[in-house]
């Protein structure tokens, strides 16, 4: 098939960008969207132009690198799929497609379709973990966890950190991402000791990074390639409220000896 692509080109964070139009021919329905971009880049290279920079790696929907806003939809028209899993049979001959980067204040522009998502790492650093050093863990079967609980935890843990939720949200909120981690760990018995601290610290970091607030629009769960439900945001809000009411900073003198 023959397509017309309008692709966002921007050489760096401080230079202005614009949409460039590229016709592309010979696209096969079995190609993935990124293989279509490989083809475009080979074409641009042979024409002596600079290829389009875009983030990608595993190409099987799990690393969370790829991030394209495709005709206004994060990861394009297929539900529950990343950009790399989107295949060209979703389009038809003659289609025009607009491809842009994720746009959010907390995801600064790097180049073309690449943005900086390190804010997500800093939200995890704030408390998205269980504090256990290597060694000394007790036998894994001594912690009993019901199947229903671990399944719900796994639903949240499936997050790949791609940022589609932020890109799709009219407020550029990271609540689905943050709520997913708070839910994954907060549901498990191992996650209880730090549950209050985790919710407070992660939400605070999310605000510091410049993400917007959640107004329960629900765009995030529609865009999420792992179909994480906004129930995780409900859980985050509840954990945050409870923690804010009861959490007391550990005394500085405690534990000395």
């Amino acid at each position: 098939m023959r397509l017309t692509l309008h692709v966002w080109r921007q050489s760096g964070p401080s230079t202005p960008g614009k949409l460039e139009t590229y016709p592309i021919d010979g696209v096969d329905a079995d190609m993935s969207f990124l293989e279509m971009f490989d083809m475009l880049n080979e074409q641009l290279t042979l024409e002596g132009k600079e290829p389009v920079a875009f983030a990608h790696d595993c190409r099987e929907g799990i690393c969370g690198s790829c991030n394209m806003m495709i005709s206004g939809q994060a990861h394009g028209p297929w539900k529950g799929a990343t950009t790399c899993q989107l295949h060209m049979r979703a389009f038809k001959d003659g289609d025009e497609i607009w491809v842009e980067p994720w746009r959010a204040k907390a995801f600064p522009m790097v180049k073309d379709l690449v943005v900086d998502r390190s804010a997500f790492d800093r939200i995890i650093q704030a408390g998205g973990y269980i504090s256990v050093n290597t060694g000394g863990a007790r036998d894994a079967n001594e912690i009993l966890i019901g199947k229903e609980v671990v399944d719900e935890s796994m639903d949240a843990a499936a997050c790949i950190g791609c940022g589609a939720c932020v890109a799709a949200c009219p407020n550029a909120s990271a609540s689905l991402f943050t709520g997913a981690k708070i839910t994954h760990l907060g549901l498990l018995p191992q996650g209880q000791p730090e549950r209050d601290r985790r919710a407070l610290a992660m939400v605070e970091q999310m605000d510091l990074e410049g993400f917007g607030h959640c107004t329960l629009t629900g765009e995030c769960q529609e865009a999420c390639p792992k179909e994480i439900s906004i129930d995780v945001i409900k859980r985050m809000n509840r954990d945050y409220a409870v923690a804010a009411a009861r959490y007391v900073e550990p005394k500085e003198t405690a534990g000395a000896g």
Binding site: H56, G61, I62, C63, Q85, V110, S118, N141, K147
Partner: protein
């Protein structure tokens, strides 16, 4: 000439690791913070090692070329992780896991390393659960297990089809915690392009910042490479697009021996190639062979749709040839059997390069709901790529390059022959011999990172003084920086007519045809003519657009492909010299009716190749393999 000393501790195999841990020197807690350690890569091995060493008190700097350590390719592992827990009461033990792994590796792995791997496997599961990894559980709250190829017990722990993701997220979170505590300094978008060897030991690395193009040197008291495998030398593989050999290769060129490069794992269950545009291959987890039956039509060139081929005209060839292991035969054997069926003209799908993986019986027996609970995400992935519904028609699968057992040579302490340079995870060669069993890569990565290297590196560091070195003046560092800058400028200056990808594809085709599932003397000799010619053309005719001063994905790739071309040549040389068939290395001349024919008299050794200079053939060093506990035998899964 370099001597390889494997430093395997003396004593009975079940005591070696405990005794060695006692014998090793320790760095006292107050002194640990005086030592700097560089870790390159943050997949399962790198992230777990960096986090654990930081917990112990070392100053760790971790370098990744991704934008975040959570993107490493360990994340894509689907099926599971082995551990000798014997939770299923089916007769598993440390010894059985050890035995299965040595046998699965076709008696080409080092016994002592494998035994230690089996020992610490049980600690890994405990550690991961403590971190919050949501492994699958039974209704009663206990951990669930599934079976995997090459084993007759159920010892594989899993988190749906996303086990690698969940284990990596666990290690990543432990790492992020240490970053927040200031014990790990994380360098993202930083690609290692040179190892710095000063005064006879590894003292640092040179990296290029992929966003700014800045080339910088970093010093440490020890360097750890956790940079994964090199399957992308074949262009098409199940590896991520960025996976590459560059860090290992640059270390090789600085003296680190490269062991068993020809041992490549071709995974039997991948989605077949659909066209010329294909950029990578997608794995369908081996766990599917628990409930899927592999078959091809009995008749050659049978083009009927599968539903119209009656039972009596189907050949369930794995069940027929290997009745005791059936569809769970190890990967090398299952792949070769698929190739054999296709070569015989009985393959299915476009080009006849495919076999069926059929779930109809399991769906009838267990119901669609159970199958969907076990493999739902894999079935969805398959449908997205092929536009076929595997609940209704059998999957079509074909073998694809998946894992590389070879890698930098290391001793029992996971240190290479360059003092101070440690290599962990898929990047080293040590535990899988000539074939890796399913669900053992995750086990090895985390064993090395959580439970082996953090101890053994102390033994090395206790023997060296923590000395600072000035990277701006020490000639080993300034020379390395200059060499990296020079290579970038050379690549950008060639301005030839061919794209980087076109070279990579051509190399991949040579490797797949001549050094893939079946290798011959003639084919390998031909490849050894063609690859040097390709290398020569690359350096004359590659076109790398853009500049070196900003994000330039073509320039990054050009450096990696240049290294792949050199590696490809070494792999062919290794495959040519190994005149036997074992595991993933199948030489057509050495077979017994399709089964690999090993030659233990002449080839029971690790082939470690030492760099001898540009354009020169590497020198072969041998580490003999001695089996004191497992009797070497012809591997049988019949």
């Amino acid at each position: 000439m370099t001597e390889l000393n494997s430093r395997i501790p003396a004593g009975p195999i079940e005591k070696k690791w405990d005794q060695h841990r006692f014998d090793m020197k320790l760095v006292n807690p107050a002194n640990k913070r005086k030592y700097d350690v560089i870790v390159v890569g943050a997949g399962l091995a790198g992230a777990s090692a960096a986090a654990t060493m930081a917990e112990l008190g070392y100053n760790v700097s971790c370098f990744v070329f991704h934008d975040s350590p959570r993107r490493a390719h360990s994340i894509a592992a689907q099926g599971g992780i082995n551990a000798a827990k014997n939770y299923q009461n089916d007769g598993d033990s440390v010894y059985r896991l050890f035995y299965d792994t040595v046998k699965g590796g076709d008696f080409r792995a080092r016994e002592a390393n494998v035994y230690r791997l089996a020992q610490v496997s049980v600690n890994i599961i405990d550690q991961c659960v403590a971190q919050g990894v949501p492994f699958a559980r039974e209704y009663g709250g206990l951990l669930a297990n599934r079976s995997f190829g090459g084993a007759q017990v159920s010892r594989t722990f899993y988190a749906r089809g996303q086990t690698g993701q969940q284990l990596l997220i666990g290690a990543y979170q432990a790492l992020e915690r240490q970053i927040a505590l200031g014990k790990v300094k994380m360098h993202t978008h930083s690609e290692m392009l040179e190892l710095v060897v000063a005064d006879g030991r590894a003292r640092g690395i040179v990296v290029r910042n992929l966003l700014t193009g800045a080339v910088t040197a970093h010093a440490a008291d020890a360097v750890v490479l956790a940079t994964g495998g090199y399957g992308n030398v074949f262009f098409l593989s199940t590896n991520a697009m960025y996976s590459n050999v560059t860090a290992s290769w640059r270390a090789h060129k600085k003296g680190a021996a490269f062991a068993n490069p020809c041992y490549t794992q071709i995974h039997p269950t991948c989605i077949p190639v659909s066209g010329e545009h294909q950029s990578k291959l997608t794995l369908m987890s081996e766990s599917l062979r628990n409930d899927g039956r592999v078959w091809v039509p009995k008749k050659q060139g049978d083009t009927r749709p599968p539903s119209q081929i009656p039972e009596s005209e189907r050949d369930y060839y794995l069940e027929r040839k290997y009745p005791s292991f059936g569809n769970l035969a190890p990967r090398d054997i299952a792949s070769r059997a698929a190739k054999e069926a296709c070569d015989d003209g009985r393959g299915v799908g476009p080009g006849g390069l495919g076999v069926y993986l059929d779930f109809a019986d399991s769906i009838k027996r267990l119901g669609k709901k159970t199958i969907s609970e076990r493999y739902g995400n894999l079935f969805d992935m398959y449908q997205r790529i092929t536009d076929e519904n595997p609940y209704e028609v059998p999957m079509r699968i074909y073998p694809a390059v998946h894992y590389t057992m070879g890698g930098l040579w290391v001793d029992y302490n996971l240190m290479s022959n360059v003092p101070g340079l440690h290599v962990i995870g898929e990047a080293n060669f040590s535990d899988h011999g000539a074939n890796r069993l399913g669900a053992s890569a995750l086990m090895q990565g985390l064993a090395d990172g959580y439970f082996v290297l953090p101890y053994t590196i102390g033994n090395y560091l206790a023997g060296v003084k923590p000395e600072k070195v000035d990277v701006n003046t020490h000639p080993a560092f300034t020379d390395a920086v200059r060499a990296v800058k020079q290579q970038g400028e050379t690549l950008l200056g060639i301005k030839g007519k061919r794209t980087v990808d076109s070279f990579h594809k051509e190399l991949g085709k040579i490797m797949w045809d001549k050094c893939g599932m079946a290798r011959t003397r003639e084919g390998l000799e031909e490849a050894l003519q063609r690859i040097p010619a390709l290398r020569e053309e690359f350096w004359r005719n590659v076109n790398v657009p853009g500049s070196g001063a900003s994000l330039n994905q073509s320039l990054e790739k050009a450096g990696r492909v240049a290294d792949f071309i050199e590696l490809g040549e070494l792999m062919c040389r290794d495959a040519l010299h190994r005149e036997e068939s074992c595991g993933g290395h199948f030489r057509v001349e050495y077979q017994d009716d399709g089964e690999a024919q090993r030659n233990d008299d002449d080839f029971a050794y690790v082939a470690a190749w030492e760099w001898a200079g540009n354009g020169q053939a590497q020198r072969l060093l041998k580490e003999p393999l001695v089996y004191e506990n497992v009797k070497m035998a012809t591997r049988s899964y019949k």
